[in-house]
């Protein structure tokens, strides 16, 4: 059943609302998006202002109270050196929420440029670049990360660059297919009939029209990036102790689950899970709103 147009022409033959306004309203109506967005917003608030409302200093140790189970004093218990797990979970969102979005941004910018070039020029350029990107995608992120970190040393920048570049080909692929479809439309021919440069046609004519799929792909990738950042810090790359970080915390404490100290791991794991779920719900909502 074809959807009935949502905005009707007014008596002078013009429609009032722009497309973006409609997407915005449709996002507000999407429960999926609102729930996801609320979760993400919560963690963003923790990252920005966590220090102010965390009950304890996340770095302050308290050996006497080490490994205390959850109680009214320490809601999520304490870790091996008595640091408050609740405070560490709250403040621990800070690094992951800077590194993952920056990595995604890098992936989006690089992927969009590559996708525009391959989709616009097609032919030999497309064949060569696409094969290289496919080869790149075949290597697991972790291996690339290991090599890069060995070569460049551990730092947040390395993590951002590694994750950003490994995700770029995936975004490039999505953008390329959208560009291939746009390229067939007559406005591209009209641009050629004005002798517009390739750069103008790609970035001024085509790019604005492929923003919706890029937006969806970016939000989806953000979920994966969060996961990848957590994985890398679990493996000991990226954020270094004693900074509170979820992946790092799990890595430091998971040996103790056997001893019954589950709270040192569970809440960090839940935090990662909830953030990924929140981002994915929001991504679903964006996808739904753009494809309505």
């Amino acid at each position: 059943m074809s959807a009935v147009q949502t905005s009707s022409p007014t008596p002078d033959g013009m429609r009032r609302r722009g497309p973006l306004t409609e997407v915005f309203f449709s996002l507000l109506r999407s429960r999926t998006f609102l729930v996801g967005f609320a979760i993400v917003l919560f963690w963003v608030a923790c990252a920005l202002f966590g220090e102010h409302f965390a009950p304890y200093d996340p770095l302050a140790d308290d050996i006497i109270n080490a490994l205390a189970p959850p109680s009214s004093e320490h809601w999520f218990g304490t870790d091996q050196i008595g640091r408050d797990v609740f405070s560490r979970v709250i403040v621990g969102s800070r690094d992951i929420l800077t590194v993952a979005p920056l990595a995604t941004l890098l992936a989006t910018v690089a992927g969009t440029a590559l996708g525009l070039v391959t989709g616009y020029f097609r032919g030999l350029v497309d064949d060569v670049v696409s094969r290289i990107l496919e080869a790149f995608m075949a290597i697991p992120v972790v291996i690339v990360a290991l090599l890069a970190i060995v070569a460049l040393g551990t730092s947040k920048t390395t993590v951002i660059v590694v994750i950003g570049l490994s995700f770029a080909p995936i975004i490039a692929r999505t953008v390329r297919s959208a560009v291939l479809a746009e390229r067939e439309l007559d406005y591209v021919a009209a641009a050629q009939l004005r002798h517009e440069s390739a750069l103008h046609t790609m970035f001024v004519e085509i790019l604005p029209n492929v923003i919706p799929p890029i937006l969806v792909e970016t939000t989806v990738r953000l979920g994966y990036a969060i996961f990848a950042v957590a994985t890398l810090s679990f493996m000991g790359f990226g954020i270094q102790p004693p900074s509170p970080d979820w992946g790092l915390s799990i890595s430091n404490n998971y040996g103790m689950i056997g001893g019954g100290f589950w709270w040192t791991v569970l809440f960090d794991a839940l935090a990662i899970a909830s953030l990924v779920i929140g981002v994915n719900l929001a991504a679903d909502g964006v996808h739904g709103a753009l494809n309505d």
């Binding site: 008596p11 013009m14 429609r15 722009g18 497309p19 004005r194 004519e205």
Partner: protein
Amino acid sequence: MTSSAKAENALELTDLSVAYRVTGRNRAVLRNLSLTIGQGEAYGLVGESGCGKSTVALTVVRYLPRNGSITGGAISLDGQNVMKLDAEALRRARAESVSMVYQDPGKALNPSIRVGRQLTEIFELGGVSGQAATDRAIAMLNRVRISDPVSVMQRYPHQLSGGMQQRVAIAMALANDPSMLILDEPTTGLDATVEAEVLDLIAQLRQELSASILFISHNLAVVSNMCDRVGVLYAGMLVEEGPTEVVFNDPRHPYTVALLRCLPRGGQRKDQGRLDTIPGFLPGIGADIKGCAFADRCALADDRCRSELPPLYDLGGRLSRCFHHDKAQALPRATPSDVAPVPKPAAAPVLRVAGLNKTYASHGHALRAVKDVSLDLRPGETLGLVGESGSGKTTFARLLLGLVPPDEGGTIELEGKALAPRLENRSDDQIKAMQIVFQNPDSALNRSHSIRHLIGRALKRLAGLSGKALEARLNDLVHSVRLTDRHLAVKPRQLSGGLKQRVAIARAFAGDPRIVVCDEPTSALDVSVQAAILNLLADLQSKEDVSYIFISHDLAVVRYLSDKIAVLYLGRIMELGPSEDVFSGPHHPYTEALLSAVPKLDQTETARIRLDGEIPSATNPPSGCVFHTRCPRKIGPICEQQEPPLSEAQAGHSIRCHIPYAELARLQKAVVAEPA
């Protein structure tokens, strides 16, 4: 199938109101619509897009989209109250007594299931299975005049031509012997020749079957040929109804009068006067309408029309919802008909094409999309390109523009200078001299840019303007295509189809072009909007002395605008000559068939020439004359062996046919004289 005695009427709609819920508000689409269709009757529903035609079709079987609801009234199908049916009974009614055929057969058929399976499935639902179902499917395909049903049943929908697909869709619709057949624009996407075939088929089936037909179309001529009675819908209301011939020959509602005047008829040409138009726009869905819905656009409207809803006056077997039904035909013209005659000095051609070829490689075969085309075009002249889809019209246009490079050897000369085959190698002056108005403005206008940007950019690049000069020229241009300043800030999406096409025209005219290619510029538009666009193109031409290459499948439209016609078939020019000569004949047998296929509003059809089969594949064109496989006037082996030359039969009028001109004249005169 219901075995009970048939009700008096196949379909009765009483005071039916339907609304769509959009952004939280119910918006009325159908307003107290009442109509009846008798048993075995064919009822035509006409009106412009957005007036609720398709909603009627969907409502009959309660098949509205999720946001649609019936807000009042009753539907009675063969005596059965559709509103009261539960889910199961409704399913049975949809399966057994009503069938629908939609506009696009390619979308109505499942692309991944063989045609035979899709057909037998219907019989299986009715309890017939195995060989019996297959036999019935074959019988059904025979009924829709498919000559080799067994092989067609083995194929997938995409392996069939558009016309064949629509036949299969009709066969599926008829499989259950429905009492009511709803045809929603069944021929709109098809070529005129195929449309004629499908309409013939429907007309024949009407003789054989008892089904009543609800025929929905925007094409008045099609409805006039197919239906006993016709209803004119406007803003979800019935404004006029009556026997088809009476309504079209003696309309009693200003809307019907205006709609009929928008059509170029009886061979009307641009130098004989402008087409009439309907000012203003259709009220949006859900608009609050106080008086007559048409009052805002009607020159006859007075205060009463604007404040009080006119009743449906019964004028003896016909209805009109107009206070002034007695003087509806005195509706003043919205557009003055007069045109200043433009003397045409015989000038040197602005465009000269010689020996143009285009060959594509298709799976290792050569596909000759355009073969050996030569013609020229003078300033201020319009060349009409006609032919079925696949005849190479659009490819030819793209070759001229340089969007596709032609094969080596041919030449294109613009104002005496040879044009480079590729667009990149043409000078800025050359590209601005030749521009195009595309068929689909949604594709041609970048949806991310504002109208100001779209036209402004063209002025900057093509006219080399900037700053104040650009602003001034932008204003001129916008006004010359009759847009207003209010339209400049918005995006294309916010404009109606006709306004978008005006933007596209403004853009094409930005660099003072010598030639504008118009590729089906009005085929996506309603007739009233089409008339306005055709008038605009004619006005711009007489003002700017620009030449057009006008591509259209609508021969009346081509005839209105063109001075010269080229008829293309499989990439070859079959006939080339002054518009009047090509239309009045004697003409090439292919042109004759094309003209005969056009449904005519006045039902004065004299000759029926139908082309069998489809346009052959361009990878493997027939030997000799490429048209011989379908030619109704084939004279013998010479047609299969030798390709006839394009020879000049009269001054300026060339025909590619073995039959001598005098003989063509005699044959075609004979047909006209014969009673149909």
